[in-house]
Amino acid sequence: MRALAADPSTDAQIASARGLVKIYGTGAAQVRALDGIDVDIARGELTAVMGPSGSGKSTLMHCMAGLDTATAGRILVDGEDIGAANERRLTKLRRNRIGFVFQAFNLIPTLTAAENITLPLDIARRPVDQDWFDAVVDAVGLRDRLAHRPAELSGGQQQRVACARALVSRPAVVFADEPTGNLDSRSAAEVLSFLRRSVDELGQSVVMVTHDPTAASYAHRVLFLADGRLVAEVEHPTPDTVLDVLRDLSGPARGAHTSAPTAARTAEPVR
């Protein structure tokens, strides 16, 4: 494993967490979704996060992106202390420094693809840098779809629009929670290669959650979560090395553990 930075606020890491704990619910229904996570996300890298269902991947993304508040621990994103920020500050951060891609439902149905992409800039009343916009649009290959509304785009195209939107404001870091979860392998490849290129060519920092070893192999580094803890890590992954780690983790000893949070998840009230 990579050694943790002694001072997380240095330039080498774009985001970092120390002693991160997230507890849902109280009493018997209590779930420790994150159970003391220490992690550094390197600047200018594509980092993948993997782990069984219910292991806390989404929770980690949400907490680091300032969408949710941690129960304990410290989070720094681009030098900013997320835990100490109030709602106004968080809104600003989301607008300017953080990009987020959800697994599904990423676009506003009433806006065109182009409008969806520039939405964060419009919200922040920042001018659109046309060169950068063109670069991003070309990178996702959506030039001829810009005037279309989400309903007129395929699932893969929609996710690429969402990725473009996450990148257009040049955020310090993009968090993507299963961006390819709903896509077939071809569409998934489109989105993943775009994310990788944004890192390699545009210098972005990206963190992405995935269940797919092939997807993870696009990353510079893969982090493995289980039961809310960081349990393994692979540098320069290939699908095979990732699969090996997964097989190790889902051994008999782990299986018993993963079933409990899964049960808790299904017991969640339907809203």
Binding site: L67, N96, T110, L119, P120, I123
Partner: protein, 846 residues
């Protein structure tokens, strides 16, 4: 299924609250109207019962049927009976007391030196105090016995601020008289704010029955006398020119007349209740449309496990029924509350209405039925839609729009109705429908209103797109987001705006009619009145003493009066005005259509053009006139085109005097002509000083006269606005409702926006812009429609003095400004709710 339906209404109560409130407000108006009517009828019944307690009445014979219009009152359509008859009646076997009805107008001066005026336009009565009359009792002091003494009814005494023994003045027969209050008289019943002043019988007779004639004579029977026999005996004594009627029959007759009058008031109020309910129905339909869509999956699941379409349909209607009944129950309570408040307000003005607020089974039944019916009808279409959607389709993630066929049909129908309605209005306005003009106008207006309602969804994308343009251009991206939200479901936006549109159409039309009327009145005064000053009275009857006092002034050359009395004209009762020819030569400049005004000198009559057309009169025709004191046939000598004197017929003053008693005549207006060279300002001071003792008289120049007439129109307008305000309130609730529900629908979208950095204030702004857009859209449609339709009125009603069309742009601008305010207010709660949503909860909302 019913259980599922009721569960669901309980767990989603919030969604139905607005619907319930909408039903509640509409029903409150209905039940309030009924309760008010019953209460007022009860009050008047009491008055009738106590004011007409005699066993038999002798009155004059009928001279015209009530159908002639113009007259709502009881008097004016019967001959008078001789006072002398009273003594003869007293001799009849079994008669214990005889009370001639000696009554007439009087003005009492209160302790503060101003006239004691009755609340809410209730009349002031002077009565001759008859010691024989068993229905009045002296509560304190003693009865008046000489011309300088009066007694006051208990609540009149209170209102006047006077006490027994106080000196004051009364205005009697046009002259001011010094009097002393010597007693307090008590009547048995509520008197609805009327002012009662009692004089001694002799003074009263001199004042109001100097010619020995009274409207009726009451006869009280001694104990044990058979009323039927008494009736026959009285009739025998009274003779053929009179009619004896039993007290019971008279009371029934009067009650029936009052009921009819209250019926008009009730109908008027019910029209507004209907508008409120119609608007409320839009909200209910919208609510159900949205909740049905939100619960589409629930229904699909029910369908998938075997529920039939009719079961789904039924379950939604059960919910509608609950909403309707709960709303109606609340509405009944609110209606009673409304009437209670109204009664308190009236009470504080001195107009007492009788005790309990009546709530009969009929009112409750009708209210519940209306609430339930409106809800059921409004929910039927969304329910049908829910029932017929195939389960698989409903299970799908994206919402499917079903606006194909039905929407096109209703759009087409709307276009047809709008164009047809507008065409009818234009035809009516250009006078091409002959007698059907008014009908064409009314039908056309209704068709156009419904047409625009149906057409509105088609107007939403273009209309709101254009309206939203400034916001979209200046407030990126908030304006654009708001525009997207209001145009994404045109039908919903249209019906939300439609609710406001109805009220605003009526408000806009009322504004145009009012300002046009005011302008018409002003131009009539300006073009026709050539007098220097006018005298008007707060009681619409200028005392003749004031006229005399003014005429005696040095700088006054002549005072010309317009006296009004009710006469039977060719058998039906109308206002007839008594004038001098000089009036038309000096005070009014009136175009003569045919004949000549010298006819007045020959004792002939003059008619207005509209009345001549209506009655098919030509110069030279003979017209039969009959009043309480005589009858006469006059020749029509001239037809004039005047708007200043709004009456059927004008006759020489002498003719009017022969046909009616002075007590029946009122001096509506007196025109004052100054001598040549008199200084207008000094003259005005003199006039004001001369009428000052008469308290109720004011001096006006032509401008002020026009202002005073305009002010009357404004008063009516205020009442109309207040009533229409209810429908606007309901429409605002509709906007709140639609916003709240559509925000719930877009929860995930809102979460997403917040996740990409939309601030709370920005989100609230989006909601507010949506709200303002909807409200301004509805207002523009409504005001445009109302103004368009009202613009046709002047050409249709030109004959009735509606000559000028004035569109009050400033006022209409205010309405649009108001719409913005309304939009902002309506957005507050939904916006706060949206802003409070937790980002993550919202994103993962299903």
């Amino acid at each position: 299924m019913t259980r599922v339906a009721l569960r669901s209404i309980r767990s989603h109560l919030g969604r139905f609250v607005m619907s319930i409130v909408a039903v509640l407000l509409g029903v409150a108006f209905v039940s309030g109207t009924f309760a008010l009517r019953t209460m007022m009828a009860g009050t008047f019944d009491d008055i009738v019962a106590t004011s007409a307690q005699a066993d038999v009445y002798v009155r004059g014979t009928e001279i015209a049927s009530q159908t002639g219009g113009g007259s709502m009152g009881v008097g004016g359509n019967r001959t008078l009976v001789p006072l002398a008859l009273a003594d003869e009646l007293a001799q009849v076997d079994g008669v214990s007391a005889v009370t001639p009805d000696v009554t007439g107008p009087i003005i009492l001066v209160g302790s503060d030196g101003t006239a004691v005026l009755a609340a809410g336009g209730a009349p002031s009565f002077g009565l001759g105090y008859d010691p024989q009359d068993p229905t009045t009792t002296i509560a304190a002091g003693r009865a008046p016995t000489s011309p300088g003494e009066i007694a006051l009814e208990t609540s009149t005494l209170e209102a006047s601020g006077l006490a027994i023994g106080d000196p004051t003045q009364v205005l009697l027969g046009g002259a001011l008289t010094d009097v002393t209050v010597v007693g307090e008289v008590h009547f048995d019943a509520a008197i609805a704010g009327a002012i009662f002043v009692m004089l001694d019988l002799q003074t009263a007779t001199q004042a109001w029955a100097a010619d020995g004639l009274v409207p009726d004579i009451g006869v009280f029977a001694a104990d044990g006398t058979d009323t039927d026999r008494l009736l026959a005996d009285v009739q025998a004594v009274a003779g053929g020119d009179t009619e004896a009627i039993s007290g019971a029959d008279l009371r029934a007759e009067t009650t029936a007349q009052i009921r009819e009058m209250l019926g008009f008031v009730g109908t008027f109020l019910l029209v507004f209740a209907g508008i409120a309910l119609f608007v409320g129905a839009f909200i209910i339909a919208n609510t159900f449309q949205m909740t049905v869509r939100q619960r589409q999956r629930e229904f699909a699941m029910l369908r998938a496990v075997g529920a039939s379409p009719s079961q789904v349909f039924g379950s939604i209607l059960v919910q509608a029924l609950v909403v309707g009944v709960v709303g109606a129950a609340g509405g009944i309570a609110a209606g009673v509350g409304l009437v209670a408040v109204l009664r308190m307000v009236l009470g504080s003005f001195g107009m007492e209405l009788s005790g309990a607020i009546p709530l009969d089974g009929f009112t409750v039944g009708v209210s519940i039925a209306i609430g339930a019916l409106v809800s059921l009808v409004a929910a039927a279409i969304p329910a049908r839609h829910a029932a017929l959607t195939p389960p698989v389709e409903a299970m799908r993630e994206e919402d499917v729009r079903h606006e194909g066929g039905a929407a096109r049909w209703s759009g087409a129908l709307g276009a047809v109705l709008t164009v047809g309605g507008a065409a009818a209005v234009v035809l009516a306005a250009t006078d091409r429908l002959g007698d059907g003009n008014e009908l064409g106008l009314a039908a056309g207006a209704i068709a156009a209103l419904i047409g625009v309602l149906l057409l509105a969804p088609a107007l939403v994308p273009g209309g709101l797109g254009a309206l939203a343009w400034p916001a979209a251009a200046t407030m990126r991206p908030l304006g654009g987001l708001a525009r997207g939200n209001v145009t994404r479901n045109p039908r919903r936006t249209a019906s939300t705006a439609g609710a406001l549109m109805i009220g605003m159409a009526l408000v806009g039309a009322a504004a145009v009619i009012a300002s046009s009327t005011q302008a018409s009145v002003r131009s009539v005064v300006e073009t026709e009145s050539t007098s220097d000053y006018l005298l008007r009275s707060a009681t619409y009857d200028v005392p003749s003493g004031a006229v005399d006092a003014v005429a005696a002034l040095d700088d006054v050359d002549q005072v010309l009066t317009v006296e009004v009395a009710m006469l039977a004209v060719d058998g039906s009762v109308h206002d007839v005005v008594g004038v001098d020819r000089a009036l038309f030569e000096r005070a009014l400049d009136v175009p003569v259509v045919s004949g000549d005004l010298a006819a007045l000198d020959r004792g002939e009559a003059v008619a207005r053009v509209s009345a001549a057309e209506e009655n098919d009169w030509q110069v030279g025709d003979r017209i039969a006139l009959e009043g309480s004191t005589g009858s006469q046939t006059v020749t029509l000598g001239a037809i004039v085109d005047t708007q200043a004197i709004d009456t059927t017929l004008m006759v020489p003053q002498g003719v009017l005097d022969e046909l009616s008693s002075p007590a029946e005549q009122t001096i509506n207006t007196a025109f004052v002509m100054l001598t040549d060279g008199a200084d207008a300002a000094t003259a005005r001071d003199d006039l004001t000083a001369a009428v000052q003792p008469f308290l109720i008289v004011s001096v006006m120049d032509n401008d002020e006269f026009a202002d005073a007439l305009s002010a009357q129109v404004d008063q009516v307008l205020v009442i109309l606005y207040a009533l229409l305000g209810l429908s606007v309130v309901i429409a605002v609730l509709g906007i709140v409702n639609t916003l709240a529900l559509s925000i719930a629908e877009r929860t995930r979208e809102i979460g997403l926006l917040r996740a990409v950095g939309l601030g709370r204030l920005q989100l609230a702004s989006v909601v507010t812009i949506e709200s303002v857009l909807t409200s301004v859209f509805g207002t523009l449609l409504g005001v445009g429609l109302g103004v368009g339709l009202a613009s046709a009125l002047p050409s249709v009603y030109a004959d009735s003095g509606f000559t000028d069309l004035v569109i009050p742009w400033a006022q209409l601008g205010t309405f649009v400004g108001l719409a913005v305010v309304v939009g902002v207010l309506a957005a507050i709660w939904p916006a706060v709710r949206a802003a409070r949503m937790d980002v993550l909860d919202a994103v993962s909302y299903e």
